[in-house]
Symmetry: C2
Subunit: 375 residues, 2 copies
Amino acid sequence: MKKYTMSPMTLIALALLVALSACGGSESNQPSEQGVQQAPQKVYKWKMVTTWPKNFPGLGMAAENFATLAERMSGGRLQVKVYGAGQLVPALETFDAVSQGTAEMGHSASYYWKGKTRTSALFTTVPFGLNAQEMNGWLHYGGGMALWKELYEPFNLVPLAAGNTGVQMAGWFNREINTLADLEGLKMRIPGIGGEVVSRVGVEAVNIPGGELYTSMQTGVIDATEWVGPYNDLAFGFHQVAKYYYYPGWHEPGPTLELIVNKQAFESLPDDLQAIIEGAARAINQDMLDDYTARNNAALDELVNTHGVELRQLPDDVLIELNRITQEVLEEIAAEDAGFKKVYESQKAFREQAIKYHKISEQAYYRARELKASD
Amino acid sequence: MKKYTMSPMTLIALALLVALSACGGSESNQPSEQGVQQAPQKVYKWKMVTTWPKNFPGLGMAAENFATLAERMSGGRLQVKVYGAGQLVPALETFDAVSQGTAEMGHSASYYWKGKTRTSALFTTVPFGLNAQEMNGWLHYGGGMALWKELYEPFNLVPLAAGNTGVQMAGWFNREINTLADLEGLKMRIPGIGGEVVSRVGVEAVNIPGGELYTSMQTGVIDATEWVGPYNDLAFGFHQVAKYYYYPGWHEPGPTLELIVNKQAFESLPDDLQAIIEGAARAINQDMLDDYTARNNAALDELVNTHGVELRQLPDDVLIELNRITQEVLEEIAAEDAGFKKVYESQKAFREQAIKYHKISEQAYYRARELKASD
């Protein structure tokens, strides 16, 4: 030791320098900002419960993709372990589990919680309402997100839009639907406001988690079901238990999936990790729709051409009547429930604008693209 | 100093402990992961050049929103200063400036660079091609992004999708368009493949940055222009220099904006900041479309009802012929250019699938929503 002539204080100073440069990054060529030096380095290990089977195409993968992106963006400081339905809590206990802090996050659909508040249905999808593009416009630039946060605040939850399936299919039936009367007496899985609408024409509407639908159809617990669209429905094998596949999904034109975060857990995070959760949710909100958009057609081809499913269009008369009943149901709930009315009015005003503009843009374009010379 | 009985080595150890806990975060209640301790803390101060006026609604704000989100998600470690067109380099030098490293990033539209490679046009939009939802499906789950990265690699650029306007308007004219012959002799601002298509019916097609369009129309440098849609076109005041506003935007059904990153700059970033750039780009890719979706209709109302603009629909015959010429142009370029052909074939296959599926989903839904009882 004798050859070292540095004083103890010099040694301390050197040790400090080495320690600080190790944690500060040797690449730094600029003075660090205050906010950077103070960034907390705590590692958050969170649980996410979901209403989907683990790794289920589209829905379940969105939860996984969120976790992967958030972990990468946070340099490993936010690690989210995703649980499939039933692995930690049953599918339809996701809301309560996150509300109570059993898990910090959940991935699900708000309309499953209409037993908590009927208003929740408006943040997933409304029959004859907004499609995916319009829902995203309303949520992020039409006041929707603020209303959703307000609704979930008493439940101790922070909601984020985190996925969209696009227009769904009307569902699987073993009976042809030629008139409204053909719906009468069916026991059908159809959640949200769509369920309330069909119950007015004699359907017994129930909600059952996705993972239990195949067995429920097979054993006759239900006679008909809607789920999502070809990409997901093929994965569940519904073509083995139903003959007719109806479109379009009048009841779910652009369902938004939700990421719910326990409020205390969210608020315990530093600002950068809060931003990462918000940013990753926005990213998967689009990413899930991209996935469906790319894969639905091939799945439909397989259902129709390999499995012999009969693809049918709901008759116009049936759609017109379901639309009429939908508006009646919405107005009735709004008249009974001031909280529902507030959100409904906001969404209704946005819908009127969107319908007008899309008539000369998206809708006019779909028409223009397929025009053919008549001669 | 005498009352301190600690040895120099104890002092050093204590100093190290204090230093490391200060940088490691005092909240840590778990062993830090290796990746976390090693996260570099360098602050990156980057420049982003754009082809839009600073803070321009939609397009320009997407660039700002990207910078804000990336800075928050990185805890201030990635700071991007956004320059409007002409502030650092002229609008149409964005590509070269980022390629050469004058700026680390750019926000623009790939079809402006068809002078560098004609294939670039396919990553913005193609006449009668994919709409916003379909472009995102193709880019992120249909192989599009891999092809785009391959195309930009020799230019030293990493591309990311970073915004979409939705279906655009066909544009502003002072002449009624009743037949194809009415287009003849027009000098019109219309970039990308749309420009090549109209040049076959006698239009002199030019590209001019958005910020110069009003003056170009006013002084007669051009007779007609397309730009984006009501939200942006109102901001530029085109209603003061043109009478007719045509829809639908057959030539730009779902233009993707690009975020380009200098390759060396991107590769110099630690993985978490690369992920933050990718995540923030995905977030604004959707966010911009949400903004347009929410605001276009009110802007159109103002154009028509306050400013007396005449809203017109392009005749079916004109659209059919433009579609025919488009397919001819695309096939011709593909026959001449193997690089173009590779991307074109991928997009064309995706388009066929998307058209088929959207006929029973999005398109069928738009129709179902507006069905009315005939009696």
